[in-house]
């Protein structure tokens, strides 16, 4: 059973150059989610952008002459703030039994 609001949610990531988008559960490497004509290589765009040999940093991309590494991406964050959600309470208090064995006496 999956509790409402507790499904793992993917991040929406889009290319700043062409707008191509992707979704990922890899929250540590969200740049990998997008593959588009701007940078078709299946590699870590974040790492490449951060180590641009021409010193562009993460500002590389379309419109930057001579730039050979990845364009920046837009990573869309989401959050759900809930008050008094029973699932939160159970998570916060593992000592609360989530199921009981009922034995008839």
């Amino acid at each position: 059973m999956t509790l409402p609001g507790f499904d793992p949610e993917p991040l929406r990531v889009s290319c700043l150059g062409c707008g191509a988008e992707g979704w990922t559960f890899d929250y540590q490497h969200p740049g990998r989610a997008v593959e588009c004509g701007c940078c078709p290589e299946p590699h870590d765009h974040d790492a490449h952008a951060a180590s641009c040999p021409r010193g562009h940093g993460g500002d590389c991309g379309l419109g930057v002459p001579g730039c050979a590494v990845c364009r920046p991406v837009v990573i869309e964050g989401k959050a759900h703030l809930r008050l008094l959600d029973p699932a939160d309470l159970l998570d916060a208090n593992p000592e609360i039994p989530q199921s009981l064995d009922v034995t008839e006496v």
Binding site: Y27, H29, P30, D46, D59, V74, L81, P86, D88
Partner: protein
């Protein structure tokens, strides 16, 4: 232990007093969203992000009128990392009083989220959803 995200403890008390003791309470001027690199709790602020591309104190965010005990942001916000990789964990909603007051807190889905230099972290409208649980089903257990 995982903290239950939502109201700052002091403001939760103010809200209870507003309902039950007819005292007035409200946020001042407007609400700002802050980004953090640690998890906030009801009694402890997160460590606010401090890096190029982010202005401490947060960014103004507007919210829709609540309906069915829920609301979400109506405005969007974005920040472009101009420094080292950000590791985003928490968020907080503060008002814009002369001495700002923290009202609510939570964590980003999937946190920590890495935002490399040059990348943009964006919160689109409805990206921050806030809801109150009006009722729940609980089982009372009697021990003989």
């Amino acid at each position: 232990m995982t903290e239950i995200a939502c109201f700052d403890q002091a403001q939760a008390g103010a809200i209870l007093n507003a309902v039950l003791r007819q005292s007035s309470t409200a946020s001042t001027t407007g609400i700002k969203l802050r980004l953090g690199t640690s998890a906030p709790t009801a009694t402890g602020n997160m460590t606010e992000l401090s890096s190029s591309g982010y202005t401490t104190g947060g960014t103004v965010m507007t919210f829709n009128a609540a309906s069915a005990a829920a609301t979400s942001n109506s405005s969007s916000a974005s920040w472009t990392n101009g420094g080292t990789t950000w590791s985003l964990v928490g968020l907080e909603l503060w008002d814009e009083a002369g001495s700002p007051v923290r009202w609510m807190f939570g964590s980003w889905t999937g946190q920590p989220i890495s935002i490399a230099n040059g990348n943009v972290f964006q919160v689109s409208s409805a990206g921050v959803a806030i809801s109150l649980q009006l009722s729940g089903t609980w089982v009372s257990v009697c021990y003989a």
